[in-house]
């Protein structure tokens, strides 16, 4: 039904709008109340959680204290066990690894470290040597001429002097050794065999010590931890063997430090040292 009177129609509309507005106000009021309630409950929850966390913190501190006490107790126990009658593993004396074996290993390492000439390099070096020898002979001839030149022949003096100077600044390259390559190969394979032999001996003794539950030396425990980390026994044994072999090869006798002072110069020993440090740090963490 349509209202004919426009004023009345407008009034009606205004009325409807007023009602709508009131409804909206009511809804906003309701929402505000809801929100306030929710905030209150959230605050309460947070307070609760904070209290719980504080409690947990206290507990953790207590636990840390007791762990510390336990640690000290363990250290003391360890000392007592070491002082007592417990059988100790000996990884310091190796009568079965002979001097000659060690010498072979070291010779092999040296052979690996030595720079070997390829045939092309050897050829180039020989060429350079021939070139140098020729220049040297020419220079000697020039110097020979200097011994007889009259003093006022300046151009000749200059020329001969220049020829002499060509050889004074140069160095004769090292001659490649024909047999060096074969010798090195032999030394390398002998070294590899010797390493395998020594590793076998060392590994057997370490395995024996583990089997009999012997007490490891202090340096060994410092470096590799009290025992093999679970699941990594083989790797651990390998590294342990290398540590002992390192001590044997390089005459490290320190009772506390497994690898002794680090080597200064680059080379096989330095590489091995650095590798062992990294690997052992992993095992101690595990």
């Amino acid at each position: 039904m349509k209202n004919i009177d426009p004023v009345k129609a407008l009034d009606d509309k205004v009325e409807r709008l007023k009602k709508d507005l009131k409804q909206l106000g009511d809804r906003i009021d309701n929402t505000q109340t809801d929100a306030a309630q929710q905030q209150l409950s959230t605050t309460n929850q947070i307070r609760d959680t904070t209290r719980k966390i504080a409690k947990t913190n206290e507990r953790v501190t207590e636990l840390a204290d007791s762990v510390h006490r336990l640690e000290r107790l363990l250290v003391a126990l360890n000392r007592k066990v070491r002082a007592g009658e417990t059988q100790k593993a000996d990884f310091d004396t190796w009568p079965e690894i002979e001097r000659s074996l060690i010498a072979k290993i070291l010779a092999g390492q040296e052979a690996y470290a030595r720079k070997t000439f390829t045939p092309q390099e050897a050829k180039n070096t020989r060429k350079a040597i021939a070139e140098y020898d020729r220049a040297a002979h020419e220079a000697i001839d020039a110097a020979e001429a200097l011994t007889t030149l009259p003093p006022n022949a300046e151009a000749l003096w200059r020329k001969k002097y220049k020829q002499w100077r060509t050889v004074t600044g140069k160095h004769r390259p090292e001659a490649p050794d024909e047999n060096e390559h074969a010798k090195d190969t032999a030394a390398k394979s002998a070294g590899n065999e010797a390493v395998a032999q020594a590793r076998e001996l060392i590994r057997t003794r370490i395995e024996g010590a583990v089997a009999q539950d012997l007490l490891f030396p202090a340096w060994f425990e410092n470096m590799l931890g009290p025992a093999a980390p679970p699941g990594k026994a083989d790797d651990w044994l390998y590294t342990a063997t290398d540590v002992v072999l390192y001590r044997v090869l390089h005459d490290v006798t320190s009772p506390a430090s497994a690898l002794g002072s680090p080597p200064q110069e680059q080379g096989h020993r330095r590489t091995l040292h650095d590798r062992l440090i990294v690997e052992c740090a992993d095992y101690r963490k595990a």
């Binding site: 020979e144 011994t147 007889t148 001659a175």
Partner: protein
């Protein structure tokens, strides 16, 4: 006096010959070759210095004489053919003449003759100045450049 540098040069040459004998006997491949080479190098240097001394003894007087001649000629040219542009070459030549008068032979092994070259170039420049005016300075500069090249190398 004049015989002494000659005798020293002959001495040095003899010593060098001895060192060379040792060097040749050793041959380039022997282990003592580098040391012998260094010794011989010292002997060669000594011979060259002895020769420089001979040259110095021989050239001191001529160099000084030419330098004095250059200075006198410069004076004559300046008075006789005065010209502002010519002053450049004459003054340069006088500077070279003064340097050679003070030290006619220098210290380096090729220097005595290099100084002779420079001072001759300066004298030539002075004599050319009436014809070439300032352009004669190029001759002086060339002489000095040659001297420096011989000395510094």
């Amino acid at each position: 006096m004049a015989a002494e540098p000659f005798a020293r040069l002959a001495d040095r040459q003899h010593a060098l010959r001895t060192a060379l004998r040792a060097l040749q006997a050793a041959g380039p491949g022997s282990p003592e070759f580098p040391a012998l080479l260094a010794d011989t190098d010292k002997e060669v240097e000594a011979v060259l210095h002895a020769r420089r001394d001979v040259e110095a003894a021989r050239l001191t007087v001529p160099n000084r004489a030419i330098a004095a001649g250059t200075a006198v000629a410069a004076l004559v040219v300046v008075i006789g053919w005065f010209d502002g542009w010519s002053l450049l070459s004459v003054l340069l030549a006088v500077a070279v003449a003064a340097a050679v008068l003070v030290d006619p032979v220098g210290r380096n092994i090729w220097e005595p003759r290099a100084r002779t070259g420079a001072i001759v170039a300066a004298l030539l420049a002075v004599l050319l100045t009436p014809l070439a005016h300032g352009w004669a300075a190029l001759a002086v500069v060339a002489g000095v450049a040659w001297w420096a090249w011989r000395t510094l190398r």
